[in-house]
Amino acid sequence: MTALLRYQTALLVRSQRWLAPVLLYAAFVGVGVQWGQPVLDSLGYAAAGLLPVTAWLVQLCVSQEPPAARTVTAAVAGSPRAHLAPLLAGTGCGGLLGAAATLVVLLISKPNSTDNTVRVALLPAGIAGLLAAVCCVLLGAAVGALCTRPLLHRRGWSVAATVLTALLALVTGGSPANTAVTGLVTGSRTGTVHLPVLPFVAAAALAAAAAALACKLAALRG
């Protein structure tokens, strides 16, 4: 698996297709996160942007191998494992992006509540921000895995489904990403840190189920 991951990551890095989603996310964070803003607000904003960007990265990874090369790796590693590797590579890339964004937000934000009355401890805020980022990355990975090969083969449908599902996953009340992000933003008003543990568990379960389905279908539908 390590070799497969290394191969998929090298493919992504060398193909430079990661540039578009990473630049988009950088612009999103650059516009929304300013120096001296309340930390929990900014963490929630940075986490929310990770969901569509991870979905995009996962789809890039899944479709970056030409069909002939894909059959070669699938024969060596088996189709399910050969499909799991790009899913993990894309998710890992999203995770790195999330960790970097969380760190930047922690460094430049003001450790206060929105109305500047309550002081927010940076360490719990950082942990909550990281957990929220992981929630969004995992949910984005699930969206990315379900809205592309082997479930959706047509590129147009794939893009439309990804945009729609990612948006729904962000705004629907009760979705792990939405719960984690609103937990941060509402906590910012009173200066309390809510650790999104339950949303994290739910997002992990959803991502695992989506990956299992996609990997199983990879051998049946290509």
């Binding site: 070799a3 191969y7 191998e65 059959t71 070669v72 790796t73 049946l220």
Partner: protein, 282 residues
């Protein structure tokens, strides 16, 4: 669509699959390689270490030829230095050593195919699936692939191949299957007629030693006048046979090597059966 396919893949065998265009040869190979799963039925047994060569491998991947092979070698389970070493030697064997540092998208079709073949051979797979892998290779590389296939079979692997050239590895295939309708049946005339160049090897074993079992290419053998044994084998298997004889325990001694006379035999009147009682003069 294929149905009711019952195929056994024993070790030490070379299997040819035949069939008209669009009958599902590639589908069957992809099933055997574990790329696709059957919607009905199943493939039993431990999954062997598998390698697959697709028909056209023009992969626009952002790697050099050697870089790609090292990645694939690692996925096969090799360590990086070993993978790099084998990548170099296989590219060299197929006459593509000069392209090791060329990016894959810049390679010609033939050289890309050499990379695809090297990828499959470098990890010494237990199951090698070749889907018209010879297409696009130059003559020298085709012959080299024939020999490499014979070596893999001699080393105990199972090789399954499809090729549009009916003479490809003729006389070496242990079984030939034909896809007819939706099913698979043993092709008539299998193993195929022994055409193609053959090599005669005069060898002598240690006194009293029997001929080693399971020699590559199932050579015909006859006692020679000088007390040795005269093996006749398809030229693709001659290297593997020599290797097997020299590394047998106790090892055999090679006395003479020559091209066998009477290369073309009429497929209708098949050659002498194994263990021909009359010694032939070299």
């Amino acid at each position: 669509m294929l149905r009711g396919v019952d195929l056994d893949l024993p070790a030490h065998t070379l299997i040819r699959i035949e069939g008209a265009n669009g009958t599902g040869k590639s589908t069957l190979l992809r099933l055997l390689a574990g790329i696709d799963s059957p919607t009905e039925g199943r493939i039993t047994g431990r999954r062997p270490r598998t390698a697959y060569v697709p028909e056209r491998f023009s992969a626009a991947l952002p790697f050099t030829a050697a870089g790609y092979l090292v990645h694939l070698g690692r996925i096969h389970g090799l360590r990086t230095p070993e993978a790099a070493d084998r990548a170099r030697s296989w590219l060299d064997r197929f006459g593509a050593a000069g392209h090791a540092r060329t990016p894959l998208p810049e390679l010609s079709k033939g050289t890309s195919q050499k990379v695809a073949v090297a990828q499959a051979l470098l990890a010494e797979p237990e199951l090698l699936i070749l889907d018209e892998a010879w297409t696009g290779l130059d003559t020298a590389a085709r012959d080299e692939l024939d020999r490499a296939v014979a070596e893999r079979v001699a080393a105990g692997a199972t090789v399954v191949f499809v090729d549009h050239d009916p003479r490809r590895l003729a006389g070496s295939a242990d079984a030939v299957f034909r896809i007819e309708g939706n099913g698979l049946c043993a092709a008539s005339g299998a193993p195929a007629a022994k055409t193609g160049p053959r090599v005669r090897i005069a060898a002598a074993g240690p006194p009293g030693a029997a001929i080693p079992a399971g020699l590559p290419g199932a050579p015909e053998h006859a006692p020679a006048a000088d007390g040795g044994v005269l093996f006749t084998v398809a030229a693709t298997h001659s290297d593997a046979l020599l290797h097997a004889l020299l590394t047998a325990r106790p090892p055999w001694h090679i006395r003479q090597l020559a091209a066998a006379p009477g290369i073309e035999q009429d497929p209708g009147t098949d050659g002498p059966p194994h263990r021909s009682p009359t010694p032939e003069a070299p």
